[in-house]
């Protein structure tokens, strides 16, 4: 059985590693956009309510079950669950703790590599002289793989490989010699970068360096409360979702980190400390960086438009341009700080995702740390290649949706039910409060047993049946599913006219007029334009040299009109193939859990 002798070097190292695991891109890019779209300052009410009723209970559950598993020398989610109620099938629920981490890491490492490359581009002055649309286009080109600023082919893949090798190398150094050192250096540095950028943002003055308004107007915009929004279930679901994703719960990372603490160590204070440190980074720093800077230079209307595509668009397509307004030297420092901050947030999270998989290999197959880390890296590379090569075909989104969203909610619900109802809250409460350095309020017994599972059920149902336009009151015209709802996804609600795997014709997805046909970086594009609420919108379609165009500039096209002909592979093919791949991985992990159980069952200490 396991000869896994990993341990944390210090309690501070553990707290910083756990906080680093929770602090991710979402703290800086997702939270402020969610707040803007869901009631501004009023959003903080459902957000904090969900933190108290959902976030803290899940942290208590995961920390205490992790320590319980560690006591029995198991350090991966399936067998931590098995140690709680051995002989039952709960270990198979732990599949999520391996599956999610493998799949999320595959695309998370890719995003991490964007931040690394953007640090390099910022320092090298790559964005100097580019206007806003050119900076936005730079990001699109960077993802297209054919683009290079250094002369090296496949530049984005090279940056990804650097990131992946760095992750594997740090993981191979273990908890004390790798992850803990990164966290002790990275988390304080991230806070320093965050404070620097927040001060720079707030200090923006209208009229200086081309600013159209004060940076403080951004804070005003973000924090002005719209209390009416609290009546909308969408806002509460958004708050619950944000709390859920910001704390890295439902993935097995927290359990795995906690499984390496001593059986007589506190978990209650540790959980509170790491949780609130994450909240500090999100609410104090995350809310004070991208919104003040972008509103300062672009104004409120433009930022509202940009945030419709989420925080990532704002972060990578817009921020490098905004930093240019501060002059050559300061833009390099600000760009390096901003993308450095995101890189640290990313790598501390991706390392935590590697640990449960490493723990599984080390415990169940007696593999060395180095062998486990390299195997983890190879699997992540294999899974990442489809997302990188077919990024614009929807593969990335599929990974994020099924492994990074749905799987987390399902696993959190399963572990909460198991902890409260099968392991039993009496024993569970003992685990939470044993050797605690703080008094945990008794009300949490009730919250953990009843409130948290109910909230998780609501989140799951909300995701399953999410209606079009997030209008939860529209029962009269029949329930129209949102294309991002679980059922909507399964039914391919987001797929338009090109709804077959292969075709000889490609159809227009929107009405409009062909306004340009062009070649950019060896890729061919047709662009159509149309008006939406008096605003001109553009739709771009890509085609290849072997396709034959059936439209010309100036042609009016309607939905379903043929734009070009040839041998065409539609996005639906890539979407379904990525789902099949995810299903295979999920099944493969289940089989490995079963084999590990059979192999080591008699040697286990519980």
């Amino acid at each position: 059985m396991s000869t896994n002798k990993e341990a944390w070097g210090s309690r501070i190292g553990l707290i910083l590693a756990m906080a680093g695991s929770a602090v991710g891109f979402g703290n800086f890019l997702r939270f402020p956009v969610q707040a803007i779209q869901n009631g501004g300052g009023a959003f903080i009410i459902p957000y904090l309510v969900c933190f108290l009723l959902l976030g803290i209970p899940l942290l208590f559950i995961e920390w205490s079950t992790g320590r319980f598993g560690g006591k029995h020398n198991v350090h991966s989610t399936p067998f931590i669950l098995d140690s709680l109620k051995q002989g039952r099938q709960w270990k198979y629920a732990g599949v999520f703790g391996i599956f999610s981490n493998l799949v999320i890491n595959a695309y998370y490492c890719y995003i991490e590599s964007w931040t690394l490359s953007y640090m390099y581009f910022s320092l090298g002055g790559t964005f100097t002289g580019l206007d806003q649309s050119q900076v936005a286009e730079f990001f699109t080109n960077y993802l297209s793989l054919n683009f290079s600023t250094t002369g090296l082919p496949y530049e984005s893949i090279i940056f990804f490989l650097i990131c992946l090798v760095l992750n594997v190398w740090i993981l191979s150094k273990g908890l004390r010699g790798g992850i803990e050192k990164v966290a002790k250096l990275g988390v304080p540095l991230l806070i320093i970068f965050g404070i620097f950028l927040a001060i720079k943002g707030i200090m923006i003055k209208q009229g200086h360096n081309g600013a159209v308004s004060d940076g403080i107007a951004g804070l005003d915009f973000l924090w002005t409360p719209h209390f009416d929004s609290l009546k909308n279930p969408k806002v509460w679901l958004a708050a619950a979702g944000q709390i859920f994703f910001t704390l890295s719960v439902g993935m097995g990372c927290v359990q795995c980190y906690a499984s390496y603490i001593d059986k007589n160590d506190d978990v209650a204070l540790n959980a509170m400390s790491a949780g609130w440190l994450n909240e500090f980074v999100e609410i104090v720093l995350g809310a004070s960086v991208i919104i003040p800077i972008s509103i300062g230079f672009l104004g409120v209307d433009k930022v509202i438009e940009l945030t419709h595509t989420g925080g990532f668009g704002l972060g990578f397509r817009t921020m490098p341009y905004l930093f240019q307004q501060w002059g050559h030297v300061m833009s390099a420092i600000a760009g390096f700080s901003f993308f450095g901050l995101l890189f640290i947030a990313g790598i501390t999270s991706s390392l935590s995702m590697g640990t449960p998989v490493m723990g599984f290999f080390q415990d169940e197959f007696n593999w060395s740390r180095k062998r486990s880390a390299i195997t983890f890296g190879i699997i992540v590379l294999m899974l990442a290649l489809p997302t990188i090569l077919f990024f614009d075909k929807g593969v990335f989104d599929e990974y994020d949706y099924w492994a990074g969203t749905v799987a987390l909610v399902v696993f959190a619900l399963l572990e909460t039910v198991m902890f409260s109802w099968y392991f039993g809250l009496k024993k569970g409460w003992h685990e939470i409060t044993y050797a605690a350095d703080i008094k945990v309020p008794n009300i949490y017994k009730f919250i953990i047993k009843y409130i948290t599972p109910v909230i998780l059920i609501f989140i799951f149902i909300g995701a399953l049946l999410r209606p079009v336009n997030d209008d939860w009151t529209n029962f009269k015209n029949g329930w129209q599913l949102h294309k991002e709802s679980i059922l909507g996804k399964i039914m391919h609600k987001g797929i338009g006219q090109n709804n077959t795997y292969f075709s000889n014709e490609f159809y227009a997805e929107h009405d409009g007029e062909v306004d340009s046909i062009y070649i950019y970086h060896n890729q061919n594009f047709i662009r159509t334009s149309h008006f939406n609420n008096n605003e001109k919108k553009y739709i771009t379609y890509q085609y290849n040299d072997k396709n034959k165009l059936t439209v010309n500039i100036g042609d009016k096209v309607k939905v379903g009109d043929v734009l070009y002909t040839g041998k065409i592979i539609n996005n639906l093919f890539y979407v379904d193939m990525s789902r099949l791949l995810l299903l295979l991985i999920f099944t493969g992990v289940l089989v490995m859990i079963h084999l590990a159980y059979k192999k080591n069952n008699k040697k286990r200490s519980y």
């Binding site: 403080i216 409360p225 001593d262 160590d265 204070l269 500090f280 609410i283 104090v284």
Partner: protein
């Protein structure tokens, strides 16, 4: 800046920062106490 927005922002941010530092201080304090109890103990 709008007064309501300013009050909400300051209240929330100061409270969250205070709680984060308070719990972190408690960890530091508990950690140093443990160290005094057993100087050679490297566990948490």
């Amino acid at each position: 800046m709008n007064t309501t927005a300013l009050i909400i922002m300051l209240t929330v941010q100061i409270t969250v920062a205070a709680l984060a530092f308070y719990f972190f201080y408690r960890v530091l304090h508990a950690n140093s106490k443990n160290k005094k109890d057993n100087d050679n103990d490297l566990s948490l």
